[in-house]
Symmetry: C2
Subunit: 103 residues, 2 copies
């Protein structure tokens, strides 16, 4: 199984409503991703505020059966639209990684 | 349940052996963390190399029953020793976030 991790650091001054908008879109994306994405699990959330400063603002941890599923996710039109319309306008830094985990 | 995510970007020129050493230490840590850490799941790995450039090198996704467990993990002596002796010497940037997920 392939675990994809994305940490989003937003620009200073990004309104809470913009972060809430991203989370709403990811919730919808989770429900509508096609079978070809081979989604095993999809978790995301706003940072819980446990660290005084320096944390990312939004985290996504998505598990796919394999690399093909991850590739289908990355090229998925709705996913791309969320990145373009909701994330990029407010994004300071995106840090990602994918690693293999035992299911 | 609280999901903690850490993405480690290593300095340029960090030898593969140093990354392998971190992974070995995290494997040992996973087996020896005390009950007070309330560990639900602990996954980590070296980046799978699916993205040509810019990805983090090591990812950790750790799930705890609650915030207290996460705090015990952060202050755990063995965890702190791994950070000090194996990670910091090679670390360029650490990005983290914690978020609530349904178990």
């Amino acid at each position: 199984m392939l675990r994809h991790v994305a940490l989003l650091e937003m620009k200073d001054g990004t309104p809470d409503s913009a972060v809430a908008g991203i989370l709403t879109e990811l919730e919808s994306l989770k429900r509508t991703l096609p079978a070809e994405v081979k989604l095993v699990n999809y978790t995301f959330g706003q940072d819980a505020g446990l660290v005084p400063s320096g944390n990312a603002h939004v985290a996504v941890v998505a598990d796919f059966e394999d690399e093909d599923g991850y590739r289908a996710y990355q090229s998925n039109a709705e996913h791309q639209a969320i990145i373009k319309n909701f994330i990029i306008p407010h994004l300071r830094k995106l840090t990602t990684s994918q690693f293999i985990i035992k299911a």
